[in-house]
């Protein structure tokens, strides 16, 4: 025996007055937001979203902590990270040099997944909280060992003011300046 079909009653259609009042309410909402929009779009180069600590932006190497385990190069899903061999002074006999492996990164391939930072046993890799940087040619996106140790310049922060989106009871999202104005 098939299961009994439960018939839901259709929601009652409003009459003419309900239709008129609904349309008027919609118009009033439209006019309210038209007069006081409280936009949450970010005027990008003038304003920029300030991202929190822990945002997966550019990856920087702290060379002193690196133990050459190559875990980062092995975990990298897009093969952006490679190990290179670099001569470094021997730890006990300073006049000798030994070859040691360090990671370098190719930002043409990097997908900013952060696996390398997560797997690094000595926290030698870390993120900075921005990733909107433009390069003029592709060759600049290969980072050698020296570039990999410096945090890149962030021109957006010099031109724009940081803003942050916060949740508001009435408006849902609201755009507020991220920091107090200085001076």
């Amino acid at each position: 025996m098939p299961p009994k079909v439960a018939v839901k009653p259709l929601p009652k259609r409003g009459g003419l007055l309900a239709g008129v009042s609904d349309n008027l309410a919609a118009l009033m909402i439209g006019i309210k937001y038209f007069l006081n929009p409280k936009r949450f779009s970010i005027y990008y180069p003038k304003e920029y979203p300030e991202l929190r600590k822990g945002y997966r932006g550019f990856i920087i190497l702290n060379k002193q902590k690196c133990i050459s385990c190559a875990a980062c190069a092995r975990i990298c899903p897009s093969a952006a990270m490679k190990m290179i061999r670099v001569p470094v002074p021997h730890p006990k006999e300073p006049e000798k040099t030994v070859m040691k492996q360090f990671p370098v990164i190719n930002y043409q391939r990097c997908i900013f997944c952060g696996y390398c930072v997560d797997i690094c046993p000595t926290e030698a890799l870390y993120h900075v909280n921005y990733h909107d940087i433009v390069y003029e040619n592709l060759a600049e996106m290969f980072w050698d060992l020296d570039t990999f140790q410096k945090e890149p310049e962030y021109p957006t922060a010099e031109e724009g003011i940081p803003v942050r989106l916060m949740i508001h009871e009435e408006y849902g999202l609201l755009k507020v300046p991220a920091r107090e104005k200085q001076g």
Binding site: L16, A26, L27, G30, Y33, F34, P37, R39, S41
Partner: protein, 344 residues
């Protein structure tokens, strides 16, 4: 008579001046402002920015200029499968017929500045309304000639929408003529005077007229023939470049024409200014008042994009035949009662 005089007399020859210079040029500017306002208003209500970076001080108005230039110089791609001559001719004829009602719409009561001789102005409302019914035919033609499922569906939708709005548009704009007892636009505006505007005396017909204009120019709750998520661009899917601009601009031109008619019929025309003698008092100021009222109507209809979704075709037809047509007939009845009471 020098060449300059000839050129000047040709430019200021009333039909050419009113139809081409004021009609086409002015309507182009109004269409640009209407498109810009539509985008900015929708963005404001949805708390976005809209066009901005092209000219931040003007609020992105130059963006529309760039759009227009792009349409003007884009390559016109004509697919091999289309029916060539109707495909080319339909947007051109549609645009020409869209701006033709300017040639019979008086913008002042001074007979020196009427676009037609006074004897021909007797039936100006009838002629203007008759011409406004023609351009949709060319939308259907362009949909059929493009020979593509999307365009044909769009054309059929346009045909359904025409069936529903045409009667409402004509009857609702006739209500003031019924009350006044004249088909001359100038007589109707003069009868309204300073206070007896038909938006107050006959709000039913005014509401019906606004709804009919929204339907006829595919303003938002009735943007059914060229609804983007369903049929790509409706009848205009295969068009590109200047032909597409003519097609899309035609809708805004018709919206402006209907706006002019509504501002003359319902909003008191050139009042509160009483036209006098001379160019400034007799033509420039009154026509400016009429155009400003028309632009307000156009922008109000464009504002609906920000708040409404899109009706289904059957919902729009249902609303038009079961709700708006009785509203229009009630408006006509109200006009008859007013004529019987002798308000005018």
């Amino acid at each position: 008579m020098s060449v300059l005089d000839t050129v000047a007399s040709l430019i200021f020859y009333p039909p050419i001046w009113q139809l081409l210079i004021l009609g086409f040029g002015g309507a182009l500017v109004v269409a640009m402002v209407a498109v810009w306002f539509e985008r900015k208003a929708a963005a404001r209500v949805q708390r976005r920015i809209g066009p901005y970076w092209a000219s931040p001080r003007l609020g992105g108005l130059m963006h529309l200029m760039a759009d227009m230039l792009r349409y003007a110089f884009q390559q016109v791609v004509i697919p091999r499968t289309v029916d060539f001559w109707p495909f080319i001719a339909a947007p051109i004829f549609g645009m020409a017929l869209s701006i033709l009602p300017f040639a019979v719409t008086p913008l002042t009561s001074n007979p020196n500045f009427w676009p037609l001789p006074p004897a021909l102005m007797e039936y100006s409302l009838l002629v203007a309304l008759a011409i406004t019914t023609l351009p949709p035919i060319f939308i259907i033609v362009s949909g059929w000639a493009a020979n593509n499922p999307f365009t044909i569906i769009g054309g059929v939708r346009e045909a359904f929408i025409i069936l529903s709005y045409e009667l409402i548009a004509i009857l609702s704009l006739f209500a003031p003529a019924v009350a006044v007892g004249s088909l001359n636009i100038v007589d109707i505006v003069q009868a309204q005077g300073l206070v007896k505007w038909f938006i107050v005396l006959n709000p039913l017909a005014f509401l019906a007229a606004i709804l009919a204009v929204a339907m006829s120019t595919s303003a938002f709750p009735f943007e059914i023939p060229e609804s983007e998520p369903e049929v790509v661009a409706g009848p205009f899917t295969e068009y590109s470049g200047i032909l597409y601009a003519l097609n899309m601009g035609g809708a805004y031109m018709r919206r402006f024409v209907f706006g002019l008619l509504i501002s003359l019929m319902f909003l008191g025309g050139w009042y509160p200014i009483v036209p006098g003698e001379g160019f400034i008092l007799g033509y420039a100021l009154p026509s400016l008042v009429v155009v400003v009222k028309a632009v307000v109507v156009v922008l109000a209809i464009s504002f609906l994009r920000a708040i409404y979704g899109r009706y289904r075709l059957d919902q729009a037809l249902d609303m038009a035949w079961r709700l708006v047509l009785p509203l229009t007939l009630a408006g006509i009845l109200l006009a008859l009662v007013e004529a019987y009471l002798g308000i005018f």
